[in-house]
Symmetry: C2
Subunit: 253 residues, 2 copies
């Protein structure tokens, strides 16, 4: 029940033969204008949106497949990627409904009756992404996490599960390191945390806590431009941050 075009025998060769009935779905998250945003695809000749994803090839690992999909949709390599859940229900969506919504492009022979999907979320620097649609879609675009429309398949559900996993990881993974540009201000980092956690944080406590981890480096420059006091710029000190992660003594918020 998920696209399998490349597994059609006429497409099969060593490079493109696929593991049947196994797919990936990728929740690609960025942060822009103090909003968490997710990359969605619009299917050809429809107004139907879904998550990026795709099959796993016979000659690549599941993680490599996720990296490949990410690279294709964003142009980025070396993305922070996290497997978070396997969606293995027998009926993950209503086949008739999908057939109706995708009637212009739906060929029953190219769809599995059932597919198991491995969910990954990816954290990327919004500003360095070049959103790119795939062979089935016309458009690839960022959506604010609050404004996501009704998606195809069980993709709204998958996003909810991804956000839960992200919140959970927020306390022991350096989310900000992956979602922000190299240089950022503490108010920006705080907004990111507030957005993911969906609650306000106290700026004094936040700064004390984050700076206390010893993984942030204050730069000599400040960010100019707002009609207000200019904030300091920071960057993650990669070595200290990785050392802290290894010892497992980084606890955020």
């Amino acid at each position: 029940m998920t696209k399998q075009k490349e597994s059609d025998p006429k497409f099969a060769d060593e490079n493109t033969s696929l593991i049947p009935q196994l797919t990936l779905d990728c929740i690609i998250l960025g942060f822009h204008n103090n909003q968490l945003r997710v990359l969605l695809l619009r299917w050809k000749n429809t107004q139907e949106w879904s998550l990026p994803g795709g099959p796993v090839r016979q000659n690549e690992s599941v993680n490599a497949a996720a990296q490949r999909i990410l690279k294709e949709r964003t142009g980025l390599d070396q993305i922070f990627l996290q497997q978070f859940h396997v969606f293995g229900e027998v009926e993950r969506y209503n086949r008739a409904e999908i057939q109706e919504k995708l009637k212009l492009i739906f060929d029953p022979n190219l769809w599995y009756e059932r597919a198991v999907s491995i969910g990954y979320y990816a954290l990327v620097d919004y500003s360095s992404v070049t959103p790119t649609p795939d062979a089935y879609t016309d458009e690839c675009q960022w959506w604010d996490i609050q404004d996501i429309p009704k998606l195809l398949f069980d993709h709204n559900h998958i996003i909810q599960v991804a956000l839960q996993a992200l919140r959970h990881q927020l306390s022991w993974q350096p989310i900000g390191y992956n979602l922000l540009p190299h240089e950022f201000t503490l108010p920006e980092l705080q907004k990111l945390y507030e957005t993911i956690l969906d609650r306000k944080l106290d700026p004094r406590n936040f700064q004390r806590k984050l700076l206390g981890l010893g993984i942030l480096e204050r730069l000599p420059t400040r960010r100019k431009g707002g009609a207000h006091k200019s904030p300091y710029l920071y960057r993650f000190d990669k070595e200290k941050y990785e050392a802290g992660l290894k010892e497992g003594n980084l606890f955020f918020i």
Copy 2:
């Protein structure tokens, strides 16, 4: 590269047709004599051990497949089961080595070149398990987690990843609820935590912490038998424990 006997066409029907190249591996954990133990299977006519596992049928969810395997190997229903990782490398083990080790029973036609495996761990009450081998194995037996032999496939690695996931969940999931009998003593619970975390805990602090959660109920009886003061018996107060879990304010150790 994993058994697929049931997917051989002559076995296929609606009940047994399988999702190809997708398997489960189950780390079934129990606690006995102050030791964490894991259930392993010995392959027919060999001295080779591996984890219980198997394929997913076309008409069952992945979680249901895990429950089914658990039921078959332990006799238990309604087990605490947790998906923890997908093992999706292309070469998860050395095919020649497996062929040699299982030469008496290895039929290349019945094995996939490659399979992706979903790892589950299960926490069970040791004393209520009836270990039962499957069609490929002669013996099903508990092994102390410290004494596990070299296993087939990548199963030693899978166990290590499962234990990491378990340690991580220990801080926000009520592990003891699933691994101990209904009635247990606080020293037993403490030993369980010490075993999983692999460090000593202070008994005074442990008791204050656990009893402070308000999810344990002290029974009027004590456990007799040791050459020493008889300890109190406790049981989990299921309602309070589930209420606490929902509110997310249970933090263990």
